[in-house]
């Protein structure tokens, strides 16, 4: 005599502690088990892609800050690369190295946030997230030192970067990269990676098969956790990544635990890249002179960077005017989120939260 139960529909979000912003997940739940999930996005839609058609190419850079506000540098970089590709602008060597340094620092900051928030979703009472915030703050201090802003940096410019680094930047960076962050990562290994409860909660939760990952065009840690070695920095190197030596961490099982360890290892690889970039940092100008109201020739360009979330692509169409004719963003958060239903159906509510946390979405980027 099986007990008949009806599935209950529960709104997880848009006002929920663990949806990382105003994302909504309508879950049909049978007991504790999820039967069906419907995703509702768009609560943070600010119509950036349309607004950008009214502003000049340079004025659009702050939009990229506010898209993925946890990885503003990566957004800046991807957009500037696309305009430079469109207008055929050469970027000085020093600027390219600075872009690599700041892009990798931003990856460390974003992955810190992702790891901490993920452990928080696993139910730890704020401690790991505070530790990760502490290390993210150290990175943000460097941003502030250079460009005055911590979160929405607006640092990259078409043709280079906005400011050269101040004198006290390099010693602070070396202290951070060689001393403080490696120690912090050791702490993470002890606290998080070896923790049996995290293994129980995250192993075999939110599994992405390699086929699903490719079919859904996932990218970033989501794709790499499924066992596929793919990284835009290797596949389609931009800036000076082809001169850097680094490894791509790749997971085994495609579950939440793999994604977390991949993020931690990627932070270590980022430090490795930063060390090389600082060692090779050439002198010279940090910016080519580009007219403020730049008018690229009519045409279109797509350029992509490996943002902390995945492949962040910018597609820019110009009709020869001072503003883009069309501007489209390939947002990794949105595309990585699209497999949420496949990942969560059949699991418990707690698993669904862990899965959502391990995708590392940023609703600002999902909705744009």
């Amino acid at each position: 005599m099986p007990i008949k139960v009806e599935p209950v529909e529960v709104n997880i979000g848009p006002q929920h502690p663990s949806t990382h912003g105003v994302f909504r997940m309508v879950a049909k739940i049978d007991g504790e088990r999820i039967v069906d999930v419907k995703m509702v996005v768009g609560y943070l839609h600010r119509s950036m892609e349309k607004l950008a058609e009214e502003r000049t190419f340079t004025q659009n850079i702050p939009f990229t800050d506010r898209m993925d506000y946890l990885a503003a540098m990566s957004g800046n970089l991807g957009y500037c690369l696309s305009v430079e590709k469109l207008a055929n602008i050469e970027v000085p060597e020093r600027a390219q190295y600075l872009r690599v340094i700041f892009g990798e620092l931003q990856r460390v900051a974003s992955h810190c946030m992702a790891t901490g928030a993920f452990i928080n979703d696993c139910g730890a009472w704020q401690t790991p997230v505070m530790w990760c915030f502490r290390d993210r703050e150290r990175v943000l201090d460097l941003f502030e030192m250079t460009c005055g802003a911590r979160l929405t940096t607006n640092y990259m410019r078409i043709g280079g970067v906005a400011f050269d680094i101040p004198d006290e930047f390099l010693p602070a960076l070396e202290k951070l990269v060689n001393d403080e962050l490696p120690k912090a990562f050791e702490e993470y290994e002890e606290l998080i990676v070896g923790n049996e409860i995290i293994m129980m909660r995250a192993r075999d939760v939110g599994v992405v098969t390699p086929e699903l990952a490719i079919n859904a065009s996932l990218s970033g840690p989501m794709l790499r956790s499924a066992g596929i070695a793919w990284d835009i920095r290797k596949a389609d190197p931009y800036c000076v990544y082809d001169r850097m030596k680094f490894d791509i961490p790749v997971g085994y099982n495609g579950d939440a635990y793999d994604r977390m360890t991949i993020r931690i290892e990627e932070m270590k690889q980022s430090l490795r890249i930063i060390r090389q970039a600082v060692g090779d940092l050439p002198g010279g100008a940090h910016k080519t002179d580009v007219p403020l109201a730049i008018r690229p020739p009519a045409g279109e360009a797509y350029s992509r960077v490996e943002s902390p979330k995945g492949e962040l692509g910018f597609y820019v169409v110009s009709d020869g005017g001072p503003a883009p004719y069309r501007w489209h963003v390939r947002a990794p958060s949105l595309i990585n989120l699209s497999v949420l239903r496949e990942m969560t159906v059949g699991q418990t509510i707690a698993d669904a939260i862990v899965t959502l946390g391990s995708i590392d979405i940023n609703v600002g980027e999902v909705d744009r």
């Binding site: 099986p2 008949k4 129980m200």
Partner: protein, 174 residues
């Protein structure tokens, strides 16, 4: 003086609480509220045991009846598909009332009619120890039979409610 008056006061207070809650169990239209009132009734009965200086039984009453049995009843209520927040009126109300009244009348009549023998032994001391002795020495066979019966009931419940098709689920380590 306190011993006599206090116990009388306590008895009447507890009796009022117990009977009031028991009436509410039948009166409220919401099953979960009824279960909660039932838990209060159990607590009142436990107070009665304390008045009778059977403190072990009283505490066990709270632990098992108010703590566990009412929880199981909540489980049953929550798993009953027909249990809504508000129960509908039924045609059985009047017959049930009459039946309940009859039962009450019989109990009252029997209580008043019986010639109660007053025992001359005093209150129990250390009820836990004497109960333990009783369970494990003279009454060990009924005690064990009761436990086996409960065990059988538990296994039966598991067998009855187990679904035939267990949905495949990946476990750690498999």
């Amino acid at each position: 003086m306190i011993a006599d008056n206090g116990i009388v006061i306590a008895f009447w207070l507890l009796a009022a609480t117990t009977i009031g809650c028991a009436l509410m169990v039948a009166a409220v239209r919401e099953l979960v509220q009824a279960v909660l009132f039932l838990a209060l009734t159990f607590v009142g009965a436990a107070g009665m045991y304390i008045v009778l200086s059977a403190d072990f039984v009283a505490v066990v009453q709270v632990l098992i009846y108010a703590g566990a049995v009412s929880v199981l009843m909540t489980f049953a209520v929550m798993l009953t598909p027909a249990a809504d927040r508000r129960n509908s009126e039924t045609v059985f109300q009047v017959p049930a009332l009459i039946l309940a009244g009859l039962v009450l009348a019989i109990v009252v009549f029997v209580t008043l009619d019986t010639d109660w023998a007053i025992s001359d032994r005093g209150a129990f001391s250390a009820t836990a120890a004497s109960l333990g002795e009783a369970f494990l020495k003279p009454y060990v066979v009924p005690f064990e039979v009761a436990s086996v019966l409960l065990m059988v009931a538990m296994i039966g419940a598991i067998v009855l409610t187990q679904e035939d098709e267990v949905p495949p689920r990946r476990q750690e380590g498999e």
